[in-house]
Amino acid sequence: MRPPKASDSDAEFRAFFRAHLAYVCESLRRLGVQSRDAEDLAHEVFMAVHRRFDELDRSRPPRPWLFAFALRLASGYRQKARVVRETVGIDSEVATEQPDAEAQLARDGDRRTVYEALAALPIDRRVIFVMHELDERPVPDIARELEIPVQTAYSRLRVAKDEFVAAVRRQAMQQRTREGGIHGRA
């Protein structure tokens, strides 16, 4: 951990931002941030990253470090979102999805499926699932970072996998029912 030279630091931060913006946005989406809010949150993530930039350990991969920022901001976001839902009376995350999401759906059905299935997981299991299955981090590392016993991490992950698969199957079934309702009886 050496402080970067002042003259280099701005350019380096910009390059870092450019290189990792997509990853940060993606992580936020996986953690339950709506697409219309992802860029706002990413902005906040990088504001926080900038404040800590001299703590970046360049000998390690940057994604786990960034993920921790995304996790923290997403956590605050979800609490805020819950308040909004309760006050405004919107009762599901899907219902708050932006109107043009349907166009997005056709283009990016896989991601949509994954975000929806992830949303079905309680947050503590979702985090482990995302870290392991999508970011491919070893379970012992995850356990260390979450400060939980390795066995606990494994058992959470096992449950999370079952829940995720079940959520994907449920979506596929609902999809078939919807299509059946429109086309099935012709």
């Binding site: 003259s7 910009r14 946005c25 921790a68 605050g76 805020k80 698969v165």
Partner: protein, 239 residues
């Protein structure tokens, strides 16, 4: 080591298709980069000695020189940054009581290098907004040339640009262009002309009007050769 059952092949395939982060829509990274630059400039300017530490002495000195040279514009610019910042702040600030701290909060606290103090987001933004929510006094002394009440017209200017910026941030580039054009019509010699042109170039580029974006970027470079927004404008207008 405990072995995990593998996922069903179709689910594993689904996950492998989304492992790579989704690419951002074109122009979004540029827009976010300038927004970030703006917000950072705003917070550095107000954090004073703290900024000198984090930004580096030379960059900070340059920024201070710029701000003193263009006090009026700087105030407007800060206003813009803060407007956005305050909104985001409201969305992003975690309101966690100790009892509610979840495992994810602990992840963060224990992340290898991420020594995070909980109110880290709140404090700079909050102090910034507190200092600049009533900009009228600072502005009225700095801008004696306006015809009507300078404070209120600057507030109008800022509101228009803020509208445009947030439209652009939402990806509604046509609305952003409309806001910038309205600013141009209403305040042809406004105090936030420089900021307006930054927004205009970014919004035009995002809406696909590349020729006008380029032309305006070229004019911007002539009118404001030493603007701190120079790189952002060039980036927005380059193909």
């Amino acid at each position: 080591m405990a072995e995990l059952e593998s996922l069903p092949p179709d689910v594993a395939a689904l996950l492998s298709r989304v492992k790579k982060p989704a690419p951002l829509e074109s122009g979004r990274a540029d827009a976010l980069e300038s927004r970030l630059a703006l917000a950072l400039a705003a917070s550095h300017a107000l954090e004073g000695s703290l900024a000198a530490k984090t930004l580096g002495a030379t960059a900070f000195a340059k920024l201070v020189a710029f701000l003193t040279r263009k006090a009026t514009i700087a105030i407007g610019m800060l206003g813009l940054g803060i407007g956005t910042g305050a909104v985001l702040h409201a969305v992003a600030t975690p309101k966690v009581s100790p009892a509610e701290v979840t495992s994810e909060a602990r992840v963060f606290a224990s992340a290898p290098r991420a020594a995070i103090e909980p109110p880290v987001l709140a404090s700079p933004t909050a102090s910034v907004s507190a200092a600049f929510v009533p900009p009228a006094t600072a502005v009225s002394t700095a801008a004696p040339s306006a015809t009507k009440d300078p404070a209120s017209s600057l507030a109008e200017e800022r509101a228009l640009l803020e509208m445009g910026r947030s439209a652009l941030a939402r990806g509604q580039s046509a609305d952003a262009v409309a806001a910038a054009r309205k600013h141009e019509r209403t305040f042809p010699r406004g105090k936030l002309t420089e900021e307006r042109e930054v927004l205009m170039v970014q919004a035009l580029a995002a809406s696909g009007a590349r020729d006008e974006a380029k032309a305006r970027a070229a004019r911007f470079a002539q009118s404001y050769p030493s603007s701190i927004f120079g790189p952002a404008v060039r980036a927005a207008a380059s193909p």
